[in-house]
Symmetry: C2
């Protein structure tokens, strides 16, 4: 560590943190990246881990590997518990780390709108979430095969996904494929095709952030995979073996199931709250910190907040969505901002360039929204494939994921179908 | 289920159980395979998961997928807690399953010679063992990078493998590669090449079951990878942060370390003991059931015991070793025996055909013992590669593992380097 250099501390090794560090690779700064986990996670493909198509190793890469070309960067595995903005310190459990500029990119967790549903309806944010959901899904088929009582068997074969945003739609589509294709020859007492997959959405279309036309196309693709879509429906209660839904017409329906996945809401990392308390920064309903046009918080030009933990509302259309492209662009902007300041210059405000959104539904369907250009079906699916491969952070992963996908596609198999760690009766 | 058919119940979906089921694919029998886990595990490559070279999904395959061509076979995810040999029932937690012939292939666990060392020195028998050891190894490098105190740093960079059989040798070699090759550019405050890898063996050569010449070749290959070998040394004590070793000359040495792996002994699955109590069968010091020349236990011709849970001593050279080829051959024999009996014939006693043993040490070295033919170095390594690929149970895995290995080989990277589930400070 060179004490005379400008010290940049980056909290979080997600898309925002990694791209900030990369943008500062040649800058005369001393960078420390802090993360609780040793790996960067490609969250957009988590649902493929949750459904056995990819392994955790395929979509993660050690943070220190991602930025190994940064000779000016030290990566430390540690937990940030707060900040001391007056003394310019990041607080760890056992000590503090001094910064000249702090980049907060700590990400988010699931948001249950105040309910205590997490144990019954896990979300899909971490690798452990994904392997846990994978275990629950596969265990449900195993339990159904073992279950003599028909009604209980039906409940094991019922899967509920709450929230029809990108994550919910992609997960429901993959579950449809799993039941209808992958598992079709594997059981003797049940027919996996009898599985009932329910996708519950509070708004009146699938993929509410997309144009209505694409929402309809997505819904059609989902139904072709055997997914039942409930629109304008809200979840009233969740417990170990059932979910209660209020339908559009006001009636309540209780569904027996042992496998519920939550894809209906996120909130900022708890760190955001402690930062708000320490700096007096405003935060929104999801706990995200309100940032200025240059991503700093008022009164603290040395604290840059970006990615899912930030609420950037200086562009039309409300706060920017919590997606990877926003975090990447903001990370690169943070690098430019620091470089400009070191050169005694100022930087233009941050501007998000929306390159479009897409969601894939099963083996050959997707929807893509690039503003004026809107696709669905096979062209959108091929585009989804190419873009997701291109953004996988390591070239190695691209090759292996492509081979794995090609294999899954042609054999209709899914290679990573292990219940591990074990669930309930499935002990070591 | 056809009630009039001969009912075969197979306990365990390892090498023995799977090969028994496959051998009975066309037999007029009704087969049930019971296992606590939903997947078959290719144990010989577990050490590659433990060192980040392969993902768990690469070396596991759902049991029901392995034997999906067996239209006469039902696979159930359940735990066998005992047997009732008089009423011919396998006991599960909540019910019994009737058999006409029972095949016990329940495998084994680690054997700590009566010591309570498992929490400090995990073995390498399950997928969870492998991901846990992987996490401990990678976490040790992370902790060393974070550690300001030099002596504590050294203890984090010290790795101890107990037992220089095939598992211990392969694991120590892979750790040597990890420290010297894979991680060499990834840290800023430590040099991973300073890591000290210690392999402790009670007997006077590495790979005690191999000819002395190959033991010497293996030791030389290990030392080239930076592994220090202690022969004729025994472990006296293990605790959270140290291991005490009695060396060949009678002196005691205490080594500070946070990462110890146990590869020094196995014992039969606890199920073996309950079977011994129920049938009066003899068992050996490792809890394995003594079997007759046809793999049955005395007085119970309808109970076949095979693989790691069996002690077969009817060939010269003492009991057969607990390796995959023995279990596979015994599984196929069990199938032949049942077919012969159904046809009213008798079967010859079981005979193990030893096709040789091999162990690999790092990137380009291995030792192979085929009786008169003995190899070391590159030819043995290529042979090891071919044989292990050939025996991976799914063709898909062969392709993907080959691509992954080729990648690892040429880039000196290891793709699956995640600490998951998290260890100590590395929380979600």
């Amino acid at each position: 560590m060179n004490e005379s250099l400008h010290r940049v501390v980056i909290v979080g090794g997600g898309f925002g943190g990694i791209h900030a560090a990369k943008a500062l690779r040649k800058a005369p700064v001393d960078i420390t990246v802090l993360d609780r986990r040793n790996f960067h996670l490609f969250q957009p493909l988590l649902y493929q881990v949750a459904t056995g198509a990819l392994s955790p190793g395929n979509i993660t890469s050690p943070i220190r590997r991602c930025i190994r070309r940064n000779r000016n960067t030290t990566v430390l595995l540690d937990e940030v518990v707060g900040i001391d903005p007056e003394n310019k310190l990041v607080k760890l459990n056992d000590r503090g780390i001094a910064y000249d500029t702090l980049i907060l990119a700590a990400g988010l967790g699931n948001y249950y709108h105040g309910h205590d549903w997490e144990q019954w309806a896990p979300g899909l944010k971490t690798i452990e979430d994904a392997t846990h959901i994978r275990g629950r899904v596969l265990y449900a088929f195993e339990a159904a095969e073992r279950e003599p009582e028909p009604e209980a068997q039906v409940s094991w074969l019922t899967f509920v996904v709450v929230g029809a945003g990108e994550t919910g739609v992609e997960l429901a589509g993959a579950l449809g494929e799993l039941a209808n294709d992958t598992l079709k020859d594997d059981f003797r007492r049940i027919n996996p095709r009898d599985a009932k997959i329910l996708l519950i959405e509070g708004q009146d279309q699938v993929l509410p952030a997309y144009p209505g036309k694409l929402g309809i196309a997505a819904r059609r693709s989902l139904e072709r995979l055997g997914v039942t879509v409930y629109l304008s429906s809200s979840v009233k209660d969740i417990s170990a073996d059932r979910v209660t839904v209020e339908r559009a017409d006001g009636t309540e329906e209780t569904i027996r199931t042992h496998c519920i996945v939550w894809a209906a809401g996120i909130q900022a990392s708890p760190l955001a709250r402690t930062v708000a308390e320490a700096t007096g920064a405003q935060s929104d309903g999801l706990g995200r910190l309100m940032v200025q046009p240059d991503l700093t918080i008022p009164g603290y030009p040395d604290i840059i907040v970006l990615g899912d933990i930030a609420n950037f509302s200086h562009q039309p259309g409300g706060p920017l969505p919590g997606v990877a492209p926003v975090a990447m662009q903001q990370g690169r902007y943070a690098g430019r901002l620091i470089n400009a300041r070191l050169a005694g210059k100022t930087a233009d405000p941050f501007r998000y360039h929306d390159k479009g959104h897409m969601a894939t539904i099963g083996r050959r369907a997707a929807v893509a929204n690039f503003g004026r250009l809107q696709f669905s079906g096979l062209p959108a699916w091929l585009m989804w494939l190419g873009i997701h491969l291109a953004f996988l952070i390591e070239f190695e992963h691209r090759v292996l994921v492509l081979v794995q996908w090609a294999w899954n596609y042609f054999t209709r198999n899914r290679g990573a179908r292990l219940i591990a760690p074990p669930i309930n009766g499935a002990k070591r």
